[in-house]
C-alpha cells in the first residue's frame, strides 16, 4: 500500500493510507500481507507534467503544492506486493486501482484531458495491462486502439521488434497496416521500469512513419531511469514510486 506524500512514515507496518472510498477495497487491502522491512519503499507523489497545463485545465482546483487532487486517490489505490515476481521486487499492483471506480475513472480522465484535441489518432497499448488503460482513452479521444503484443498472438501479418530482458530477449509485434505514416500516437502501459518495452514500441511505430507524441504510464520507477531509453519521446506519468 503506497503512502502519500511523507517519506517519514515508512517504518510502521501499516502505513496508514487514507481510507479508500470503496469499503470492499478496504477489506481487500487488509487481506494482503505487507512485509515488515526496513527497506520497505514508500511512494512519493510527483505529478510529472512536462509542460502541459492541459492536465489541470479542466480539473478542479489544485492542492496547495500544485498537484491535481485526483492523483492522491490514484496513488493510494495501488497495492504494493513485495517479492513478486522474485525476491527484492516491490510489485506495483494496479488491479486494486481497477477495483476503485473513482480512482480508475480519474486515471482515465487525467490522460483524456491531456490528449484530447491534439490530433492523436493512435493509442497503442502494450500487452497486457496496457490493454486495460488504452482502449477507454482511445474511445474518449476518438482514436484507434492498437495492441502491441507478445509473439504469435496477432493473427495477421506483423512487424516485430526485439528487446532486452534482464536475462535474454523478447519480441513485441504489431499488425502490418494498423497504423499509417504520419499518424500521431501515444503509447500506454501501466508502468515504466527500465523502459525496454516502451522503447521497443517506439521503434515499431517509428519504423512505419508514426510520430510518437508521448509515452504515458500510470506509474514510473524513476530509479530505473526508463525515461532515458525513450529517445526524443516525452514521458508522462501520474505516480512516481521511489
Amino acid at each position: 500500500m503506497q503512502t502519500l506524500i511523507s517519506p517519514f512514515v515508512s517504518h510502521s507496518l501499516r502505513l496508514a493510507p487514507p481510507l479508500p472510498r470503496n469499503s470492499l477495497l478496504n477489506n481487500y487491502h487488509q487481506a494482503s500481507p505487507i512485509r515488515l522491512s526496513s527497506h520497505f519503499s514508500t511512494t512519493s507523489l510527483r505529478l510529472f507534467n512536462s509542460g502541459a497545463a492541459a492536465a489541470s485545465r479542466d480539473s478542479e482546483m489544485t492542492t496547495e503544492d500544485g498537484k491535481d487532487p485526483r492523483i492522491a486517490k490514484i496513488a493510494s489505490s495501488i497495492r504494493v506486493i513485495p517479492d513478486f515476481p522474485k525476491p527484492g521486487i516491490m510489485f506495483q499492483d494496479i488491479t486494486t486501482l481497477l477495483l476503485d471506480t473513482e480512482a480508475f475513472k480519474d486515471t482515465i480522465a487525467l490522460f483524456v484531458e491531456r490528449y484530447q484535441g491534439r490530433g492523436i489518432s493512435v493509442v497503442a497499448g502494450v500487452e497486457a495491462r496496457g490493454f486495460i488503460f488504452g482502449p477507454p482513452i482511445a474511445l474518449a479521444i476518438g482514436a484507434k486502439f492498437v495492441p502491441m503484443r507478445k509473439p504469435k498472438k496477432l493473427p495477421g501479418k506483423v512487424i516485430s521488434e526485439e528487446y532486452s530482458l534482464e536475462y535474454g530477449t523478447d519480441k513485441m509485434e504489431m499488425h502490418v497496416g494498423a497504423v499509417e505514416p504520419g499518424e500521431r500516437a501515444i503509447i500506454i502501459d501501466d508502468l515504466i521500469a527500465t523502459g525496454g518495452t516502451l522503447a521497443a514500441a517506439i521503434r515499431l511505430l517509428e519504423r512505419v512513419g508514426v510520430k510518437i507524441v508521448e509515452c504515458a504510464c500510470v506509474i514510473e520507477l524513476p530509479e530505473l531511469k526508463g525515461k532515458e531509453k525513450l529517445g526524443d519521446a516525452p514521458l508522462f506519468v501520474l505516480v512516481s514510486s521511489a
Binding site: N27, I81, L99, P135, A138, L139
Partner: protein
C-alpha cells in the same frame, strides 16, 4: 442469445461491427477461420458501437463487477465497467497476478489451462458480468463463472462480441445467460 434476436434486430450498428471484424484463415492452425477483432479496434465508430450496446444493456442491471478474460477481454471490459460504474477484474493466465489468487482449470482442445483471480477482488452477492471477445466451446467462460461463484458472487450474464455456431440456439452457459453481438464473419470464405 444473439443481440439481433433480442431487441436489436436490424440495428445497423451490428452490421458495422460485423463488417469491421477481419477473418484470418488458418490461424492458429489449418482449418480455423480466426475472428480478428483488432480491426474492430481500429474502427473508432464500430468500437464505440460495441461498447455502447453492452453499456445500454447493463447500465440499469445493478452490476458492480465487470470481469474480463485475458487478454482480449481486457480490450472491451474496462470501457464497459467505467461507463456503468462497476469495478473491473482481470481474469488471468497462471502466474500473472501478483497477490493471493484462486484458480480454476478448463479444457483446451489438447490438454488444459488455468484461469486465476485475486482473492478479495469480488465479494459475496456482488452482481457480475463476464466479458470476452469470442465464445467458442464456452470452456473459458465456464471456468470464469466457477471462479465467481466460488466467492459467492452472482454471475448475471456472460457477454461476447462474437459467438461461434456451437453456441447458437443455446441461451445458457453453465446455467448462466449468454449475450452475443454477432456471428462469425466469412465462414464460407477460403483463401
Amino acid at each position: 442469445m444473439f443481440a439481433a434476436e433480442n431487441g436489436l434486430k436490424g440495428d445497423p450498428r451490428l452490421e458495422a461491427i460485423s463488417a469491421a471484424i477481419r477473418v484470418v484463415p488458418n490461424f492458429p492452425k489449418k482449418g480455423i477461420m480466426f475472428q480478428d477483432i483488432t480491426t474492430l479496434l481500429l474502427d473508432h465508430k464500430a468500437f464505440k458501437h460495441t461498447i455502447d450496446i453492452f453499456v445500454d444493456r447493463y447500465k440499469d442491471m445493478h452490476i458492480s463487477v465487470v470481469a474480463g478474460v485475458e487478454a482480449r477481454g481486457f480490450m472491451f471490459g474496462p470501457s464497459i465497467a467505467l461507463a456503468i460504474g462497476a469495478k473491473f477484474i482481470p481474469l488471468r493466465k497462471p502466474g500473472k497476478l501478483p497477490g493471493k489468487v484462486i484458480s480454476e482449470s478448463y479444457e483446451l482442445e489438447y490438454g488444459h489451462d488455468r484461469l486465476e483471480m485475486h482473492v478479495g477482488a469480488v465479494e459475496p452477492r456482488e452482481r457480475v458480468i463476464i466479458i470476452d471477445d469470442l465464445v467458442a466451446t464456452g470452456g473459458t467462460l465456464s471456468a470464469a463463472i466457477s471462479l465467481m461463484e466460488s466467492q459467492g458472487a452472482e454471475v448475471v450474464e456472460c457477454a461476447c462480441v462474437i459467438g461461434l455456431p456451437e453456441v447458437k440456439g443455446q441461451h445458457k452457459l453453465k446455467g448462466k445467460p449468454l449475450y452475443v453481438l454477432v456471428e462469425p464473419s466469412g465462414l464460407d470464405e477460403l483463401c
